[in-house]
Amino acid sequence: MTVLQQIVKSSKEYRGSVRANSFKAGEAAEPYSIIVGGSTKDWVNRNHVVEIPVVSRTLGHSVFVSTYVISSDFELQLTESIDGLKRLKNDWDGDDALAPIVSNLDDAKQFLLRIHAEVKRMGLNLPMPELNPCNDGSLDVVWRQPENFLLLNFREPEQGLVHYYFDNYDTKLARQSALELLGVIPRDFKFYLQAIAE
């Protein structure tokens, strides 16, 4: 992964130096340091092609990095999926299911971004999970990996909890509990993340 991909994936304000030759930098074609400035709202996103304003130390004015294609970006995919679920209305399944509760969706997004970063720190990649709205307005998040299965359920936004279930396709050996959405991620849950990561 290039430095630029890391910056884009972090989706946070970034000020720091990157080597201009680590990507095609338009005017800043020479390998001198440049500053990537501003917040993500200054970034122009067109169907996963992102233009990032940068300031050249040498030139001293804003230039645009030439377009950069982001492939399989976790946050972008997640945001699109969650936004799609927010558009569902009651009876979306033709069988009287409730529309997903918006705070459950927001909690899920926040938590998934957190554990995505956590898995990244392990040097692994968290695959995009299934986002499965339930009949009762809660949301299931599922990784159905060949050896391991992890299910999260977001159903009680006022309690700030995420419920989880993990097994290796044997329900007798399952582990099931709940975590605080904003609390420290416990060691056993990190193990489950490692088991479903790639």
Binding site: A97, D136, D167, Q176
Partner: protein, 169 residues
């Protein structure tokens, strides 16, 4: 004459229809039932509807959908959007015995009959309900994995994708 409420035998089967959006494919490309399909539906009073095998076949369960209105509309449901899976009655009734932490699930006959039959709300002698909290994830995982397809979804994920595209057209 109205249909009596009868005792449902443990050895009978229950048929459930499920929307195509609640079907997923595993790493071997087998159609699996999403665990999300097994939660209660609060709009209908906190239980799960199904059809009792004594009075309906799986195919009849699906056909009846075509005579039902969509909720709040005067438009009939499209049976092609749904598939049917089954469980044994005993599987539901014994859950709290197999796993002590599971809430008891009661399977009750709940025939639907009105005379004259209103358009869009068909009578159904086979109708049954499963009463009990289904928020426990292990319960949903166990029941999703033990579901038997009766009216099967397309065989592969690619075929399902094409099927969904046809439904949208």
């Amino acid at each position: 004459m109205s249909w009596p409420i009868e005792d449902i035998s443990d050895s009978d089967s229950l048929y459930f229809f499920v929307h195509h959006s609640k079907v997923e494919y595993d790493h071997e490309d087998n159609a699996v039932l999403k665990e999300a399909a097994l939660t209660d539906t609060p709009l209908n009073g906190g239980n799960k509807s199904c059809d009792w095998s004594r009075y309906a076949s799986a195919e009849q369960t699906r056909v009846l959908l075509g005579r039902q209105y969509k909720t709040g509309k005067t438009e009939f449901k499209n049976p092609a959007e749904f598939f049917v899976f089954s469980h044994g009655v005993e599987q539901w009734r014994s859950l709290h015995l197999r796993f002590r932490e599971f809430p008891e699930q009661r399977v009750e006959h709940n025939p639907i009959e009105e005379n004259p039959e209103p358009i869009g709300f068909p009578n159904n002698r086979a109708h049954a309900i499963i009463i009990g909290d289904k928020s426990d994830m292990r319960l949903r995982v166990a029941m999703a994995r033990s579901a038997q397809w009766e009216v099967k979804p397309p065989a592969t994920k690619a075929e399902m994708k094409a099927y969904r595209r046809e439904l949208e057209e």
